[in-house]
Amino acid sequence: MTTIIAADAPLVQYALRLADNALVLGHRLSEWCGHAPMLEEDIALANIALDLIGQARPLYAYAAELEGEGRNEDKLAYLRDASQYRNVLLVEQPNGDFAVTIVRQFLYAAFMAPFWRLLAGSRDATFAAIAAKAEKEAAYHLRHSAEWLIRLGDGTPESHARAQAALDELWMYTGELFEADAIERGLIERGVALDPQTLRPEWDETVDRVLGEATLKRPPDGWMQTGGRTGRHSEHLGFILADMQFLQRAYPGATW
């Protein structure tokens, strides 16, 4: 079998959404390894990427278990095509310069840090356990990216301009973080999933505080891009998967 379609059961889809966010962002960050502005950042970005890949793995395993089709983490990660991926558009955006990478990380982590903290109280024991571990990691990711954003925003005129440009460019992908569709609403009612709208005040507060310290301007909430949750991605995801899935596609069925 070369391409699979995951089951559409809400719990499976929810696990895949969280897993795909983590894997795709982890993959993006891993592209920096060996090319960062300083050795400490080669190490830090690799570390964050490892945390994210580490979050994705048990989520895929859980999705596979819930499906009951005999799949595993690798089948779900390596054999679904782009239209089957459920990550938000923000995480698949290219690394750009260091400012783009930091802003992307900050906007995501400012959402995920409280997300995991609250999901640790999920009625679903597996989500709760994964969230309890991810919470600590996300808190570090937020601190790392916020500290950098403050340095870039309040550093030199060049770094300020780059940070502001990155923020302006990525802002239109933030709306999608707060969307909940019918799949999620059912799970929210059962106390399994989180209503992302409840995270809005904390996200706003974090973003405003850090941007204030960074002397950066919060972009106005204009048109927001969306589509990742239904498999309508930007052009970038296809290239990520072309790299990531190459060996599994070229040598189907092999064990690595």
């Binding site: 050795l39 190490i43 390596y78 550093g155």
Partner: protein, 330 residues
């Protein structure tokens, strides 16, 4: 990853201070560790700066050939392991630069030397990683060769280097096992995977043997390095240990070594091997390896593209300092 035995002859200069020097040698002979604040001959300091910085540069440049497969690793477990491994190499670079800094040279200066093409790094990283099996081969062979060289460095006379090497060796031996496990999996896989493993062994075997440097006969062998207990075994001794340890591992996998003269010599109890093409090594060291230009271009690009980030961090630190001073004055 690793620095190579790039022994270069340095004439032993005039004795700076015979009395100190004699005391220093007695301490080294007595296997005492030399620490940063201790008196040491200038030539000892220079030898260590050169060796430790070459080693650090090798770790950093070595991130590139392996980093080449992070985004294409075939499973999530392999992806995480490879990323963690390359991250470890960055960590090794960091402690080695820190060890060099104890000898009164800054990391910035050393990095400048690398980027200016004035410093060497292990020539092995000028070879390309063409298939996934190369990631296995790099771990098994390149890290395996590195370990042979590095274990004795844990007893090096210079304390900070010796201590850094203890941790590095632990991580390297983990990497070596990880690499071997990749090759093992491939060699038990499909015909295509076996061919991939064999191809990687064919390409990496000789360059790995070259990592030990020129043969003892023609080596610009550093007596000083031995006398000061920085180096403890000759290039050929270490190379033989590596061949003896590695050949049975490859044969166990059903792989063949690209050396028709390779045979077990009952009399000596060692594996005898064919002549190494030292011209190739000289060419690669001279900058003519398949990837020398790319590796240096990638390092320079990362450095240049990151300049504005480093400047921003410094400018911010300066602003914060001056704000604090102003607040204190008020």
């Amino acid at each position: 990853m690793y620095t190579q035995a790039l022994n270069t002859r340095e004439a032993i200069g005039p004795v700076e201070d015979p009395e100190h020097e004699a005391r220093f040698q007695a301490r080294v002979d007595g296997e005492e560790k030399v620490e940063p604040n201790d008196w040491m001959p200038e030539a000892y300091r220079r030898l260590l700066v050169r060796q430790i910085s070459q080693h650090a540069h090798s770790e950093i440049v070595g991130m590139l050939p392996e980093g080449n497969w992070i985004t294409r690793a075939p499973t999530l477990r392999r992806k995480a392991a490879l990323l963690a491994k390359v991250q470890d190499e960055g960590g090794h670079g960091l402690y080695l630069y820190a060890a060099a800094e104890t000898l009164d040279v800054s990391r910035e200066e050393l990095v400048e030397q690398l980027l200016a093409g004035k410093a060497k790094y292990s020539s092995i990283f000028n070879y390309p990683t063409l298939t996934w099996a190369d990631i296995g081969a790099v771990g098994w062979l390149v890290d395996g060769a590195a370990i042979m060289n590095q274990i004795p460095l844990c007893r090096c006379s210079y304390g900070p280097y010796a201590r850094a090497m203890i941790r590095i060796c632990k991580e390297e031996s983990f990497h070596q096992r990880q690499g071997y496990e990749i090759i093992l999996t491939l060699s038990r896989g499909t015909a295509e995977q076996k061919a991939m493993a064999q191809g990687a062994l064919n390409r990496w075997w000789w360059p790995s043997l070259m990592m030990f440097g020129p043969s003892d006969k023609e080596s610009q062998h550093s007596d000083k390095s031995m006398r000061w207990k920085v180096k403890r075994f000759s290039n050929d001794e270490l190379r033989q240990k590596f061949v003896d340890a590695t050949v049975p591992q490859g044969l166990y996998l059903g792989l063949t070594f690209p050396d028709p003269e390779l045979r077990f010599d009952e009399a000596s109890g060692h594996w005898a091997f064919g002549a190494i093409d030292f011209d190739e090594l000289r060419q690669v060291i001279a900058g003519n390896g398949p990837c020398n230009h790319e590796r240096m271009k990638a390092r320079r690009k990362a450095h240049d593209d990151g300049a504005w980030v480093r400047e921003a961090a410094l400018a911010y630190a300066e602003k914060r300092r001056s704000r604090r001073d102003t607040a204190r004055a008020a």
